[in-house]
Symmetry: C2
Subunit: 218 residues, 2 copies
Amino acid sequence: MTLSKPLQLGVLLYPAFELLDVFGPLEMFASLGAERVRIHTIAATPGPVPSALGMDGPSGPSVVADLAFDDVPALDVLLVPGGVGTIAALGDERLLAFLASSAADTAIVASVCSGSALLAKAGVLDGHRATSNKQFFSLATAQSDKVRWVEAARWVDDGRVVTSSGVSAGMDMALALIARLFDVSTAEAVAVGTEYTWHRDAEVDPFVAYLNHAGASR
Amino acid sequence: MTLSKPLQLGVLLYPAFELLDVFGPLEMFASLGAERVRIHTIAATPGPVPSALGMDGPSGPSVVADLAFDDVPALDVLLVPGGVGTIAALGDERLLAFLASSAADTAIVASVCSGSALLAKAGVLDGHRATSNKQFFSLATAQSDKVRWVEAARWVDDGRVVTSSGVSAGMDMALALIARLFDVSTAEAVAVGTEYTWHRDAEVDPFVAYLNHAGASR
């Protein structure tokens, strides 16, 4: 697929999304500036969407969704965050239908943390290699047996679908995507500008020792 | 000062704030859950506040400010982000007055990136040791000669004022604050839960080689 200029990046928001799942990657992409990227925030309906406060549901800061599912333009990259709200979102048929249809038209679908559970349930990861966060790994794996789940990975780049491990791993994945979509020196400049020590090897997972198959709700 | 339970954490928002300056630290604090922390988003007027899109001004995603300056309750921690919007905010007398008065009543005032330029101009850093981000270091130092500016630091904990270097350094500072306000094992649990490799030594600054005294607007 040919990419747009500027790159059209959409990010899904839903109640009790995890803050850094969204804003870690968005920080890296936003650093590219208006000539290189445009960011669209997307939800079932436009307006404020509350983030998660830890495991305690949607009582964190609210972020404004600019677009409803039906109004999303053609995207190059769709970013799907995780968070405790993933559990409720797994039962949201409109959200899952949006992911399935959007993925068909989008060059790259990327997830952070339990966002891959949503993509798995929507069928977007069928036949792909993918990962998820350590603390609720089986929340993802329980959604589909058509996915080749990878336990030890900071992120997994499987071409059109790119999934990262928990929360902070989204920043490393985002820099890898910037390196792929632009070039490595651009990604390196973003990392320096944000004073971020980029964890560059997708296969080195500092948190694999914490892999926990408990926590799956189904 | 005795701290509240839950901890009352305020975060300043202003147009073209840097996303990760806000949401890196908030991710770490939000991970503590509702029993241990309450987060207040603060701006001149309540409602959506647009973030920065790189250096291109306030065209990033908008975050909802819950409270106006005059409605902020007693806080334990006030977080002040940087971003390209700092330059305009340095001319905002109401914002600077809020910082000065709020700092007098708050146990800890913490900044990320060029947020320390605002604190310096508001007089909050007078007599304190403080740091700022690498790319616009002299934007901060130009605001006050009563601050002992530290060039090489991931963050500087000077008791009531705690300032971090650029963008990502705010996450390391936030974990250090959680260790100080709760305990080290709580901070370590947050780092593991967010799969974040905590950079624990405030004095080790991986980006000091990029220190740039250019970029000061005054």
